[in-house]
């Protein structure tokens, strides 16, 4: 049974946090390739109204259990050195980052495939919900395409 890691932070993901995360890997000199995916909040226009932020909520315990299982499957499937996942909860404004997925491997193919697959699974399988808040404070619930 794997240790359950937290993936949530109650704020947007800052570029400095991403930089620190990259820096931590400079001592892992078996790594040759890093793949990073970032999700950023779009100011979508819907029926004349503009999204100014998304507020994320989650069934946190279930997310962390499912993410632990996904992590195990990804490590079993791909020869990667490490994988880090961070998702925001609460309000994230347009232009800010809400999702940070970071995989590393010796050669690029494994990190790239693992990153793509885990982003796909995060969007499809984790019980997280985004409420799109418009500039006039009305809202609608986000639908993943």
């Amino acid at each position: 049974m794997s240790k359950i890691k937290n993936i949530f932070q109650h704020s947007p993901i800052s570029p400095l946090f991403i930089a620190e995360s990259i820096t931590k890997h400079s001592s892992k000199t078996e790594i040759g390739a890093h793949q990073i995916f970032l999700g950023q909040i779009r100011a979508d226009k819907i029926d004349g109204k503009t999204v100014k932020a998304i507020e994320y909520t989650a069934y946190e315990d279930l997310v962390l259990n499912q993410m632990t299982a996904i992590r195990e499957e990804i490590f079993a499937k791909y020869d990667i050195t490490c994988m880090h996942i961070h998702h925001s909860l609460g309000v994230v404004n347009a232009g800010e980052i809400c999702l940070f997925v970071f995989t590393s491997s010796k050669h690029r193919k494994e990190a790239t495939l693992a990153c793509n697959e885990v982003v796909e699974r995060i969007k499809n399988e984790l019980p997280i919900w985004g409420k799109e808040i418009f500039e006039d404070e009305t809202h609608q619930w986000k639908i993943n395409q």
């Binding site: 994320y56 315990d61 279930l62 999702l99 399988e125 019980p127 997280i128 919900w129 985004g130 619930w141």
Partner: protein, 76 residues
């Protein structure tokens, strides 16, 4: 009759409000009660988890089980 805790998320939480308790012997019976109480539920896709396990068929419930009602996910 088992005493069940109902939790809900996203759009469903706007309909169901705060967490509450219901008596039901199985998940189908519980859903029937909820559909009666909240007619808007019928038009919505939902996933159900019992004690953090997602179920796809009618499932027996026991005292203190937690049933989560979840609309389609939209993380990321």
């Amino acid at each position: 009759m088992a005493n069940i805790k109902i939790i809900s998320f996203g759009r469903l939480k706007e309909i169901l409000g705060s967490d509450f308790e219901l008596e039901a012997e199985n998940s189908d019976e519980l859903l029937n009660q909820l559909n009666e109480k909240f007619p808007q539920l019928e038009d919505l896709k939902l996933r159900i988890a019992v004690n953090q396990k997602i179920i796809s068929e009618n499932t027996d419930l026991k005292n203190n089980d937690v049933v989560a009602l979840m609309p389609p996910y939209s993380g990321g």
